[in-house]
């Protein structure tokens, strides 16, 4: 069997093994036995798609040409992973909480779910990745050809374009089969990840095996190999400083922004804890991958004839030594590097193309909107499959057009520089809340234009796309716009020149436009969600519920998630809401959850648009805006709310306490009154009974005695009647059933009558401000008013404890409302009423001071009721040197009294 036949057989066997592994992993995941599939080590190994065929073969060629400079490509990612706590951890958390499906989705989602940005990033990613795919195809065909050339008269693989075509078709098949098998809500591909993990192991083992062979098999041990290295043409450190620093930066940036890296790093990440392992394991992997590169390069330079391609030393060194088996392993390693990169890159790109370009266009032009359209699920899958085929076709076409020449070798770094343009928008988006959509658009466009003009187009060769005169004299003779000497800075390395200017101008435009523009509410919300992802990983935005009909949502969800998944999602939600059946209320909560589920399948922007079509637009609620507001402001707002609440509570408590105090006092008074009433009723009743018994039972009672006892009985009966009258009076007044006898009466007349009828006794009454002329005429019920005055005078008689009691009655007039108000103060010179008693003196049954004074404590209560009926008021005036009552009454009642 010829070597070529063995080669073909081994490659097919290897491909079959990959299929088998992917298939087995898919099945295991389907049965829920995916624990071992998702170990941190598998995650780490899947990151190794960073090491493509370009690094597998190319690194040795790179080292043979420029010494240790190739290490920059590995050092950048090492720094990023070692510093995972800064950026990668945050990206993964955001990716998980926002269901991010691609790098385009991340950027569009951050800047207000902007479709324009998503399309822009997608197109840029396709432009940046296509040459890279071509590069992989080239390396596979070259390695096949190199292997075949061992046999002198072999004609196999002579037509490299045919080989490339077959490789491209095979890869497309594999990717479509395992990359678009289902529409996983999390956009994770167990089979693919497992297969690339296996490939990662194969390529590491292959490179290390070749390295060990070179160092111990050919070189004769470590020391001798090192001596050989120092003696070779790359024996000294000759790396230019600007390239060393610039390439480390570039590879670090590309590690974060390459669509395929984002796919394995963020999207396929199952568990944030895996990062902890990857933080040390992936740098170890990179170190091992780069460890034997220089020895292989040096031995290749020594052994092989001048002019042989250093890019294939990994393959040709074992072959030249007759180690066909080792060469076969090495070829499988290169094959693995190329295929895993192409598979993941085309999955990542197809996700972006279908989510951000095909589906939105399809939704727009298929008519009828999200709820009406056909099976979106199939459309999405079809779009992905077609996208994968198209992307691989593009890669193949690029390979054919470029002719597989050396121009392609430089494309790796050109591609890195292209995708690195995402970096400012990405990092700005997750660390700076002030970053806006306009800023991101400006930065990306400027960066891409500079990249294309200064690096990508010149990379095709002078005079190929850009005419030679432009290189020498600048476009239209503008010298400072020469593609490789922008702003007149000459003599820089073209790559570093382009990276420097594109990144500086990109970042500058991004920051400047962000500072000058104003973000929309959704952008600000998303910004807060992204930047503060560790504080609140909750839903970003609320929908107005109720407008959407659950059934329409269900129809749409079924078309994207699949019938059974959608049903179980809706049922779970309905159960959560406490409803039976499958249709939950379209609450904002539920809509958010649904949007996130959908965005796992079709991307955030599309999911948002689809729900928006049914629900009728998102709203940004006040609470959401609160979230946007600065945290400090939130805290202040919250604490001031708390403060207000606590003040209110204090006030209420104080009022309650006052009311409670009053109630307690009233209750005490009521008890006291009841005992008083019993006492008041009992005393006359006792004497009435006693004297009537005497009259009945005593024989020979004298007429004088009879008359005396009868009058006592009579007096006591009158006293009882008066008490009952008072009670009746009060209840009539209170219930409002009183009839008033309203007349125009001079005030003086009423007052004199009251003084006369109350029998002044030893009380001296002084009238001041007295209206002798009788010009003050009240329209009132004179009898009732006199009753009030009599009561007040009687109170002074009863309670004034001064040696020579004096009652001053002071009259003044005060304008009030439309008319005038009469105010009459009754002030005595006694000790007054204690402050705590002042609140209750107008209550019924309230008796203060000495309890032996006659009366049942109804007087002032009656006064208050009477004055209320007459349209006036009676209040206690504190601080007058004695008990003081103020009677106020309008001269002409505004509304004709409460009759």
């Amino acid at each position: 069997m010829s070597v070529v036949n063995i080669l073909v057989l081994v490659c097919f066997a290897y491909a079959a093994l990959l299929f088998l592994v992917a298939f087995g992993a898919e099945r295991a995941a389907h049965r829920g036995r995916s624990n071992w599939l998702r170990s941190p080590m598998v995650y780490t190994l899947s990151l190794s798609i960073y090491c493509t065929a370009w690094t597998f073969y190319g690194a040795v060629g790179y080292a043979a040409r420029s010494g240790l400079e190739y290490l920059t490509i590995y050092i950048g990612p090492t720094l990023v992973m070692v510093g995972w706590w800064w950026v990668v951890r945050k990206m993964v958390r955001i990716g998980r909480s926002q269901r991010i499906t691609s790098v385009a989705d991340l950027i569009s989602s951050r800047y207000g779910k902007s479709s324009l940005l998503a399309v822009f990033v997608t197109v840029m990613a396709v432009i940046g990745t296509t040459p890279y795919i071509a590069l992989q195809l080239q390396s596979v065909t070259l390695s096949f050809a190199a292997f075949a050339s061992v046999e002198p008269n072999s004609t196999a693989f002579e037509n490299s374009q045919i080989t490339a075509l077959w490789v491209a078709v095979g890869l497309a098949l594999f990717t479509i089969l395992f990359g678009t098998r289902n529409l996983d809500a999390n956009e994770r591909h167990h089979g693919v990840v497992m297969a690339i993990a296996l490939e990662a192991v194969v390529k590491l083992i292959a490179l290390i095996a070749v390295g060990i062979f070179v160092v111990w098999g050919v070189g004769g041990g470590i020391e001798q190999t090192l001596a050989r290295i120092d003696a070779s043409e790359i024996g000294t450190w000759q790396v230019q400083g600007d390239r060393w620093a610039g390439l480390i930066f570039l590879s670090a940036a590309a590690f974060l922004t390459l669509p395929r890296m984002f796919q394995v790093l963020v999207v396929e990440n199952e568990n944030e804890g895996h990062l902890r392992t990857a933080a040390w394991a992936f740098p170890t992997y990179l170190m091992l991958m780069s460890l034997f590169v220089v020895p292989i390069a040096v031995v290749g330079l020594d052994l092989l004839p001048a002019g042989s391609n250093p890019d294939l030393y990994v393959l040709t060194v074992p072959l030249s030594e007759g180690q066909t088996g080792l060469a076969m392993l090495s070829l499988l390693g290169g094959f693995s590097s190329a295929t895993s990169m192409v598979i993941v890159a085309s999955i990542a790109l197809s996700t972006m193309v279908s989510n951000h370009i095909v589906i939105p266009l399809w939704l727009r032009y298929s008519g009828g909107g999200a709820a009406m359209s056909g099976d979106v699920r199939n459309v999405v899958l079809l779009a992905r499959r077609v996208s994968i085929a198209v992307i691989l076709a593009l890669g193949y076409l690029y390979y054919r057009m470029s002719g597989g020449g050396t121009a392609l070798a430089a494309i790796g770094l050109v591609s890195f520089a292209g995708v690195a343009q995402f970096l400012p928008a990405m990092l700005g988006g997750i660390f700076w809340r002030g970053a806006t959509r306009s800023g991101a658009l400006a930065g990306l466009s400027v960066g891409f234009v500079v990249w294309a003009y200064a690096l990508m187009l010149p990379s095709f060769g002078t005079g190929m796309v850009i005419p030679e005169t432009v290189f020498l004299e600048g476009p239209f003779g503008i010298e400072w716009l020469r593609p490789q000497a922008l702003f007149g800075i000459d003599g820089m390395d073209p790559l570093i020149h382009a990276v420097l200017w594109s990144m500086c101008l990109n970042t500058g435009a991004f920051i400047l436009v962000s500072l000058l523009s104003f973000p929309s509410p959704i952008e600000r919300l998303q910004g807060a969600q992204f930047v503060h992802v560790f504080q609140h990983s909750d839903a970003p935005q609320s929908w107005t519920g109720g407008v959407a009909r659950s059934e329409e949502l269900m129809i749409m969800a079924q078309r994207i998630l699949g019938s059974s998944e959608a049903l179980s999602l809706f049922q779970t939600e309905a159960a959560r809401q406490g409803l039976a059946g499958y249709l939950p209320e379209p609450s904002p909560d539920f809509l958010q959850r649904l949007e996130r589920e959908l965005s796992g399948s079709v991307g955030a922007a599309t999911a948002h648009a689809m729900i928006g079509q049914i629900v009728g637009g998102a709203t940004v609620s006040v609470e959401d805006l609160m979230a946007v507001a600065d945290e400090t402001a939130q805290m202040m707002e919250y604490s001031s709310q708390l403060e207000a609440k606590s003040t209110e509570l204090t006030r209420t408590a104080r009022q309650l306490r006052a009311v409670n105090e009053k109630l307690t006092q009233i209750s005490v008074q009521k008890d006291a009154f009841l005992s008083q009433v019993s006492h008041e009723l009992r005393t006359p009743m006792t004497s009435i009974r006693a004297f009537s018994e005497i009259l009945r039972d005593t024989k020979g009672i004298t007429a004088a005695e009879q008359s005396k006892y009868s009058s006592i009985i009579h007096d006591e009966a009158i006293r009882l009647t008066r008490l009952l009258d008072d009670l009746l009076d009060l209840s009539v007044l209170e219930s409002g059933r009183v009839t008033l006898n309203v007349q125009d009466v001079p005030l003086d007349e009423i007052l004199q009558r009251a003084i006369a009828s109350s029998g002044v006794g030893n009380l001296e009454i002084k009238l001041s401000g007295r209206d002798n002329s009788g010009t003050i005429v009240l329209r009132t019920d004179p009898d009732r008013l006199a009753q009030v005055f009599i009561n007040l005078i009687a109170n002074a008689q009863k309670y004034c404890d001064a040696k020579t009691p004096v009652l001053r009655i002071i009259l003044h007039l005060k304008p009030a409302g439309k008319g005038e108000q009469m105010i009459l103060d009754f002030v005595d010179n006694g000790s007054g009423i204690a402050t705590d008693a002042q609140a209750v003196i107008f209550e019924k049954f309230s008796r203060i001071g000495e309890q032996n004074a006659p009366g049942a404590g109804l007087g002032l209560a009656i006064c208050r009721e009477i004055l209320a009926r007459l349209g006036g008021a009676i209040t206690y005036l504190p601080g007058q040197g004695g008990a003081a009552f103020r009677v106020s009454l309008p001269l002409k009642p505004v509304n004709d009294l409460h009759l």
């Binding site: 290295i229 450190w237 790396v239 933080a279």
Partner: protein
């Protein structure tokens, strides 16, 4: 709250975790500084650093960073469960 001594213990653990996070953040900066040193190496071919020496230096840093990263990720894992819910 009921046991003051316990809360002091927790505080101390949280404090340690914060410092470990700081250390994890410092690691790439250390790496950048150490790997930037070759920029200062002489460019003159006469006294240039040999490739084997440069390899020893660069790969030495690599091993150092991997070891530190391994140690830190182990430590962070040990303490991660105790206050996983805490904001960053």
């Amino acid at each position: 709250m009921s046991e003051p001594s316990r809360s002091v213990f927790l505080e101390r653990q949280t404090y340690r975790r914060r410092r470990l996070m700081d250390a994890a953040r410092m690691l790439p900066i250390v790496g950048i500084l150490l790997w930037a040193l070759p920029l200062l190496w002489p460019q003159d071919p006469e006294q240039a650093v040999t490739t084997s020496g440069a390899m020893r230096y660069i790969f030495g840093i690599w091993v150092l960073l991997v070891a530190l990263s391994l140690w830190l990720s182990r430590r962070l894992k040990d303490t991660a469960e105790t206050d996983a819910s805490r904001p960053n």
